[in-house]
């Protein structure tokens, strides 16, 4: 009975949030600037959640996440501009985004396979190289604008869509993390060899993690492209990847609530710091340095908000009977 009610509450909450996201902008209570910031927050939440799977839960250090975002953004944009008839655009938008996500997921394999043989610093270099390769490729394909960028997308991204995709990402990642696949991913972070030696198929899990992570980064890329209506390769440079790292490590590694918190705080902070001008861009990297020194696990640091944990997770034990710290 109690379980039914909490389930109802969760789905009702999601639905309520969607309705609110639809009504609020339409009511004219939110000015366009606030809406814009809200959408940035949402896109950044998706990016942070997806990067956290690899960096926080799996304990790898991927620094090229913007590469996946770029692939998603470009594929989705090309699909709406060159493939889909403009009239159908708004209806096909979710499928276009999924197309971008799938493209990015495919690219995720490019990073997943090296991760079988190498980890830590070396894998970080591989992901860095991946980011640079994607950026250079996009700069050199004249067909999609080269360094000038690509434009012509309708502004299809709006607050309800962003909220919808944030919820999808959150639910998918929660379901993954609280499964034995998710626990296996955590085991890889803790001790990869031991994980293998108790029967965890670490290769399959690495593929899963990179696929899911890249897919949602691609979705975020598509949303971003259809919000700005203009993308160019420079928007997906290492700096963008650094921003994502800051959000992950600010909010907290291995925490869904932390990702939401980190992305929100960082995005809003950057908006508030607009008067600083160019100096604003120092804030991100500086925060990353300070975080790594003083609070490497972030605000939530491996902890999770109660409402994001499935009820049945601990099989009836809800509170720790032991009294260890």
């Amino acid at each position: 009975m109690l379980r039914r009610r909490s389930q109802l509450l969760a789905w009702g909450g999601c639905l309520g949030l969607l309705v609110l996201a639809w009504i609020l902008p339409a009511s004219g209570l939110l000015n366009p600037y606030v809406q814009q910031v809200l959408m940035y927050v949402g896109i950044n939440i998706i990016l942070t959640l997806s990067l956290n799977l690899v960096n926080g839960y799996m304990g790898e250090f991927s620094v090229g996440h913007a590469g996946f975002m770029a692939i998603g953004a470009y594929i989705a944009s090309i699909l709406t501009v060159a493939v889909c008839p403009r009239f159908w655009g708004p209806w096909l938008f979710p499928f276009v985004l999924i197309g971008g996500g799938l493209g990015a997921a495919l690219a995720g394999l490019v990073v997943a396979f090296p991760s079988f043989r190498t980890r830590g610093d070396y894998l970080a270099i591989v992901t860095l190289a991946f980011n640079m390769i994607v950026k250079s490729l996009l700069e050199n394909i004249e067909l999609i604008g080269g360094p000038r960028g690509y434009l012509g997308m309708a502004r299809l991204t709006n607050v309800p869509w962003v909220v919808f995709w944030v919820l999808i990402t959150l639910i998918a990642l929660r379901n993954f993390v609280y499964s034995n696949a998710g626990r296996g991913v955590l085991a890889i972070r803790e001790d990869e060899l031991a994980a293998n030696l108790i029967g965890v198929n670490t290769r399959r899990l690495k593929i899963y993690a990179f696929l899911i992570s890249a897919f949602f980064a691609g979705i975020a890329g598509g949303l971003y492209a259809h919000l700005l209506q203009f993308i160019n390769p420079r928007s997906f440079s290492i700096l963008k990847s650094t921003d994502m790292l800051v959000m992950v490590y600010l909010g907290g590694i291995g925490s869904l609530a932390g990702s939401i918190l980190g992305a929100t705080i960082f995005t809003v902070l950057l908006e508030l710091l607009r008067p600083l001008g160019v100096w604003r861009w120092v804030v991100g990297p500086l925060m990353l340095v300070l975080l790594m020194i003083f609070q490497p696990t972030g605000i939530m640091g491996l902890r999770e908000a109660k409402i994001l944990q499935p009820r049945e997770e601990f099989g009836g034990v809800t509170r720790n009977p032991g009294t260890m710290p």
Binding site: A172, N175, F176, S179, N180, A181, R183, G184, L186, A187, R189, E190, D191, L193, A194, A195, N196, L197, I198, G199, V200, N201, T202, R203, Y208, L302, P310, E312, E313, F314, G315, G316, V317, R319, N320, P321, G322, M324, P325
Partner: protein, 259 residues
């Protein structure tokens, strides 16, 4: 029927012969000890059996299949469990999660079922969680269920490692120095525990141990290694008086003491 059959296993680290011509047959239900002085290659044998290293020569058969070139996870999923000389728990995961990860190979739900949290997925998860709780209770670890493994006392960490290895219902359990760092009383408890587990879980056990008391009490048969070579096979009692074994542990009789 031989559960584990090792035929003339060889392994080198660079130019160093770590294991040469190691053969061993373990029949279902047996409890076999692998002993020898430090650096004899005992853990290397375990690493070869479990696929951490792949042998330079020889063959490994487990439960009727040639596992010589298999990756670790596949070997373990076939019905092996292992503990480590230096405890290797997942330190930031709760005791419950440590045990549940051990059932990874038994979970048959797909990625799609996971992402959509289907009823089939939930059923399997619930069964596995129940089983994990049962095991924790069996090992008197229930009160630590949600405690990160790093906060458990030493003896409890050792027990948790065994519980983690047992959730997959292995046929063969490899124990690497389970009594390391334990006092006499704890060792007594461990010996009783291992005897009981063997009955309850229908286990075959291969054991590395330095503590002769444990070996004498538990093992029906021992194989003694020295510098990667087998110097003795037989009963533990005979091993204690065998000249080659004594030499390996204590040095040759009549040899002048070097200063």
């Amino acid at each position: 029927m031989a559960l584990l059959e090792i035929q003339e296993l060889c392994h080198n680290f660079g130019g160093l012969k770590a294991i040469s011509d190691f053969s061993l047959t373990v029949t279902a239900g047996e409890l076999v000890g692998l002993i020898g002085p430090n650096g004899a290659g005992k853990t290397t044998v375990f690493n070869l059996i479990t696929g951490v290293y792949h042998p330079d020569g020889g063959h490994l058969y487990f439960a009727g299949q040639d596992i010589t070139t298999w990756p670790s996870y596949r070997i373990m999923a076939r019905g092996m469990g292992r503990t480590f000389q230096n405890i290797r728990l997942f330190k930031d995961l709760s005791a419950l999660d440590n045990v549940r990860v051990g059932a990874f190979a038994q979970c048959s739900y797909s990625l799609r079922q996971t992402l959509f949290r289907t009823p089939g997925f939930k059923r399997q998860e619930a069964q596995m969680t129940d089983r994990a709780h049962q095991l924790l209770a069996r090992f008197k670890l229930s009160r630590y269920a949600l405690t990160p493994a790093r906060h458990l006392p030493y003896g409890e960490q050792r027990r948790l490692e065994i519980a983690r290895a047992l959730i997959s219902n292995p046929k063969l359990l490899l124990l690497d120095e389970p009594a390391a760092g334990m006092n006499q009383a704890e060792i007594g408890v461990l010996i009783t525990l291992l005897r009981e587990l063997r009955q309850e879980f229908d286990l075959t056990i291969l054991l590395i141990e330095h503590h002769m008391g444990v070996v004498m009490d538990l093992c029906q048969r021992v194989q003694v290694l020295d510098f990667g070579e087998t110097i003795f096979t037989g009963s533990p009692l005979e091993a204690q008086h065998h000249p080659a074994v004594l030499e390996a542990y204590l040095g040759k009789d009549g040899e002048p003491d070097e200063i």
